[in-house]
Symmetry: C2
Subunit: 397 residues, 2 copies
């Protein structure tokens, strides 16, 4: 169920403006994140494709398999929802999506149009299949066009990012408490999952879903995720947790990713066990100082790359010039990792509604030193808002 | 961590035999499920591609980003693991995967070879990018070749399917107990997740992971999944659970998908609340009778389509000829939904090592009647084995 199935989404107008600029007459999308972006519908399972058709002029159409027809109409905000396939007594446009899509494109007068599809996600076979449906049409890559529109979040997305961040904060508190009580990586993982799911179960309304976006062979029913890596396992960056208890003097990283109605938040913290060696404390303190330097410039008008430059300068001054990371965060939203990086090359200027992770961190494997701190940041009219609010700093347990 | 990083996998020999038959000199794969299939390595996050190169002759090569280098070497069973990108002091073949892949293909003498890539999953842009690396090579679609090899499971896969099925059974027991105690859909969901995760945390070794396969924008850290749909919500087939308590006389479907080291099991049951109307009881009894008719033919030599024909005949005899489902199950393994359906057209003959779901079911929306029962079945030398063992039949709470 979606929060609001009627209000217009500014993102649709932004997409149409970008299409006009690029001479694209219609977007045809199969990517789960993007069909959701343009329709508000997440069927969770994508073994039967969901197809979104967004013409520059006129009404959008959402095409779903007959067995998702009622669900799509109820959950999505697209008026014109059509069905393909055979299921029960539902009337459909034909047994398969290609014939239904062909009929829709013809009906909308797009047989010889310029059609945008995402070349970075549309499989080769499907791209060719769509081309064959409208042999007189031209095809353009719309990956970057949609990715750039996603940079600015709409009000409904920001509201959900706050809900996701709240879930992530609860998960973080539970994981830290489990570690402080002497728990293993896995025990902290499971305590965190339980805290987030219990909150969703008892405190959040039916309108809030925690499903994520699946692929061709499965679905992602529950996108509330935690992993915990202790000691040298921090250099894995991502791995399933094991039954290992952090030892005194070690640090341990907790990673939480939460999602609410398709919008993600990320919350990551480093916990120190007892008195850690100076090299580990110094790394954490260096990162905390850099975060303090970055904080005041997180506001409209600042080039995103400036956040990276501050990090690079701070790490160099502290003697970590051999350990400068390639990026210090990424945009976030419908994807846990959206496609713009906080690196030295990005051409993005901060604007209200942008959502990204702030995560300058250090990895010095030959010294056994690693930090992992990340927050989800929203750029507001006059500055920024930390959506994740877990205690930061030097967390000793 | 993987269970066993040394033993040869018969699937590699099967793949090479299929490649020889199709005249394919090497497979190049980016699909998370398939790079894992051929290497045993799941980095969980795929924002930096993992590339598997499997030549028909000679050693396979696994190419990973530098930050996954140690992880890939430790977890995978491919001897020759190479790295690209920049991370810490790891030596790599170059800053990006295309130049590393180009060097590997050239080194293996594949510059003018016939290369198989999966057209059903390789994005259009990436396909073109690989073609440009070896302009004299020919490219063929290897989707079906790999999918067909996946039909037969190796011993390590069967072992993990049993572990996944055991997790799913625990999740099912917990969900049924929560519903019997008067719980909502969401409470049953969360009780089930907790049971599976607690078991993983406390009873399963570090060598067993519950990560699933992610996409370009995220990862699937935990693939233990439950959803519960009550009353008419069963017609949704898949949706996040809500705070709804099933009413007396209704049925409620519980869906559990579990995963262990990349191999899935599915367990689905229908629970009846109190005395359900005859129409609902009759639908469940019809399905149970059909399952009993199917059970003895689940053995080597039976055409998979025969299971569908028995279902169609049974439903017709019981007066449900307007409600014959399109399929009554699917193969399962690295994918929760692998690509062969139990329908009337499939050309698969059952062989030992095949793994599929058995799920003949009814949906009669205009009567408010639905059933959902599914088990994960392994074909053995002399018959079959139900890997999911939850109590079946008519479950009244």
């Amino acid at each position: 169920m979606s929060l609001d199935t009627t209000s217009p989404r500014p993102r649709i107008a932004r997409l149409k403006a970008a299409m006009a600029e690029k001479g694209i007459d219609a977007l045809v999308s199969f990517k789960p994140e993007h069909t959701f972006y343009m329709s508000g519908f997440n069927p969770v399972l994508y073994s039967h494709p969901v197809v979104m058709i967004l013409p520059a002029e006129g009404e959008p159409t959402l095409l779903v398999h007959a067995l998702r027809d009622a669900h799509g109409r109820d959950e999505g905000f697209v008026e014109d929802t059509r069905a393909y396939g055979v299921w029960s007594t539902t009337k459909t446009m034909g047994p398969t999506w290609p014939e239904a899509l062909q009929a829709i494109l013809t009906e909308k007068g797009l047989g010889a149009a310029t059609i945008g599809m995402e070349a970075d996600s549309t499989p080769m076979a499907r791209w060719t299949q769509v081309q064959a449906l409208v042999p007189d049409a031209k095809f353009a890559d719309s990956s970057k066009l949609i990715d750039r529109c996603r940079l600015i979040k709409d009000a409904d997305e920001i509201e959900m990012a706050r809900v996701a961040a709240g879930l992530a904060d609860l998960g973080m508190d539970a994981a830290i408490a489990a570690l402080a009580a002497g728990g293993t990586e896995r025990e902290a993982h499971t305590a965190s999952l339980i805290a987030m799911n219990e909150h969703w179960t008892h405190a959040l309304p039916d309108t809030i879903e925690v499903a994520d976006f699946g692929g061709l062979e499965g679905g992602m029913v529950n996108g509330l995720a935690t992993w915990v890596l202790s000691g040298d396992r921090m250099f894995r960056n991502c791995d399933n947790s094991i039954a290992r208890k952090p030892e005194q003097g070690e640090t341990c990283a907790i990673f939480i990713w939460a999602v609410a109605n398709g919008i993600h938040a990320e919350n990551e913290r480093t916990v120190a066990f007892g008195a850690v060696p100076d090299k580990r404390r110094r790394a954490l303190e260096t990162i905390l100082k850099i975060r303090e330097e970055i904080t005041p410039v997180m506001k409209p008008g600042t080039p995103l790359a400036e956040l990276y430059h501050i990090t690079k300068r701070g790490l160099t001054e502290a003697g970590y010039e051999a350990n400068i990371p390639g990026r210090i965060g990424h945009t976030i939203g419908i994807g846990a990792h959206e496609h713009f990086s906080l690196d030295g090359k990005t051409d993005v200027i901060l604007e209200p509604g942008m959502l990204f992770t702030l995560e300058p961190n250090l990895r010095v494997p030959d010294q056994g030193v690693a930090t992992q701190i990340s927050d989800t940041i929203l750029i507001t009219e006059d500055g920024h808002d930390f959506l994740t609010k877990s205690r930061g700093g030097y967390i000793e347990v």
